[in-house]
Symmetry: C2
Subunit: 347 residues, 2 copies
């Protein structure tokens, strides 16, 4: 079924407010989930909301917390997320980064004890919209096996990079796994088999059964090189945020544990050369117009497909399974917000 | 034939000094080239020295320049390399970064007008040896086709990341092409065919002829994701250094043009958690000891192979083609340094 952006935002916001989220925090969390739907990435969309609501109800996520941030060096912000919603903590930190980087030119936030960020592209897009280069990375549960291995040892360790240009920014957002676990969950939820080569089961055997893959390990993208990048991101995030390493990470895919993964956000000022933004935009167009191996498949630049889907979804609505929409509707509470485990901790 | 480190360093240093390089600059450039040999990456080793010597003789590389650096923001160093040797300019900038980052926690150098850096791993290893996280990236001539494309539009855009641990640091160093152009040159120099899938020729047709591949385009690693990372690095380097984009880049593979690619170096202070470095080292060991799909191929961590080869080569020497060693010997000059085009520019 088709859902329109405004209806999805309204429902998601309401569900969060009903569980004690201040309206601005609820609206921000809803925005990040709905943006993933608009861009055609339902794996990071509303299907994650029921679990997030359960996390709030169980005191694993505090919808009021914005995190406690302190500058541990002139341009490095140390953020204890205090179990806040991922987008709320991240955007509070990002605001400080952009202010600080006016003088330092570069600034980094290392975040721990914060809930799932959702789709990273959204954050670096906000940075690029301010004219800055944005980089975001995040760790996760052990879901990916090493190159040549069979056991889940690494997170899917997504990386997002946005570079502003005189036209649309380049927006890269990828998991360093062949596929995100969110997408495997989406296949499992729809009883669809996954392509061969994506994953092995809990015994290290290759599988096309999405349900078995959920308990197994996803292949890293790009062989030894993709594995190397995923492992470097794993160490970067843990090394900067002091957060858990993949085998110890909990709380992004469950409603049972505190979330102990880490996030890193970085903003960098582009060079001031007067024609630079135009040169970058022209170069991206030059790439788009370069010859394709298959003339029916023109060359794309990262972010092109998402931007096209986003524009269409805002006009025409986006697809969602009726089961999920019904499930969300059934989560509406008519009563006033119930106290959460965090209630007593606010002043 | 086998060559020992000290003999290679001595010859390379001498050849550079004979062309006007101050001994410390010559020794540093020689070190970076020989390190690549020791690590088993001859594509970035001494085979690049004859071209570099020719660049000095033609005034395209100034072996005395260290670059002109200024802080364009509190933690961003803008470096005009003034046609200096890549390692000399980079290490001068790196010294400033490490000093500045003592207070800022993170610092970045954006370098243009500098010659080829050689193997990036070496730089991030120097950073990790100081206890810092190091990131290095560099742009190059258009050598890589877009995912789904056939024409060389991107540089090989290498990326290196080192993260210190209580044990050996993780050291990642990769080109975002399926293979480096240096390696294709090495195959061509040895009249060896390249594997299928590495490259297409100047007409966009797949080829296994290394000589034809040199004039064609290399495939990006890792399909759409690897292409995306390579393109993001292309825009990051140009966007930060104000350097040329791949189709306009010259001077890393020729002795005819000024070198207009860009380099980005970054240092970041790890989190101060007391057990963190030990946790990272234990995690890497945990990965190495995790089950392998093929028991005869144990899991490796980026940098393991290079470190093993490096240790062996220091003991036993490294392999080099007799032709190349003879070629280098024939480049010795008995006369005093000849003036270069830059001679008149020094005060």
């Amino acid at each position: 079924m088709k859902i329109f952006e405004d209806d999805a935002l309204a429902l998601a916001t309401r569900l969060l407010v009903q569980r004690g989220a201040p309206p601005p925090n609820a609206a921000l969390q809803a925005r990040v989930l709905v943006e993933a739907e608009l861009k055609g990435h339902p794996s990071h969309g509303l299907q994650r909301l029921p679990r997030l609501l359960a996390r709030i109800e169980r005191g694993l996520a505090d919808p009021r917390a914005e995190g406690r941030a302190r500058w541990r060096a002139g341009a490095v912000l140390d953020v204890d997320g205090e179990s806040g919603l991922g987008p709320v903590v991240a955007m509070a930190g990002l605001k400080q980064l952009l202010e600080r980087a006016e003088s330092t030119g570069i600034a980094l936030a290392a975040v721990r004890n914060s809930n799932h960020l959702g789709m990273l592209a959204w954050y670096v897009e906000q940075i690029a919209a301010e004219g800055w280069i944005g980089i975001a990375m995040s760790s996760s549960e052990a879901l990916v096996h090493p190159h040549g291995g069979t056991r889940a040892m690494l997170g899917t360790n997504p990386l997002a990079i946005a570079v502003p240009t005189a036209g649309r920014p380049l927006v890269l957002d990828l998991a360093t796994s062949t596929v995100s676990m969110g997408k495997i969950h989406h296949y499992a939820a729809n009883d669809q088999p996954i392509p061969a080569g994506w994953a092995c089961d809990a015994h290290g055997r290759p599988t096309t059964d999405a349900a078995l893959a959920r308990a197994g390990a996803i292949a890293p993208f790009g062989g030894a090189k993709g594995y190397g990048i995923g492992l470097a991101l794993e160490l970067l995030v843990a090394g900067l945020a002091g957060s858990a390493l993949a085998p110890e990470v909990r709380g992004t895919l469950d409603a049972d544990f505190a979330c102990n993964k880490g996030d890193v956000l970085m903003v960098i000022q582009p060079a001031a050369a007067p024609d630079l933004a135009r040169r970058l935009a022209d170069y991206l167009d030059h790439i788009r117009n370069s010859p394709a191996a298959d003339a029916s498949q023109p060359i794309k630049v990262p972010g092109d497909g998402a931007a096209r889907r986003h524009a269409r979804s805002r006009d025409e609505g986006f697809d969602i399974s009726p089961q999920l929409w019904d499930q969300l509707g059934a989560l509406e509470l008519s009563s006033t917000p119930t106290p959460t485990a965090f209630e007593g901790q606010t002043q």
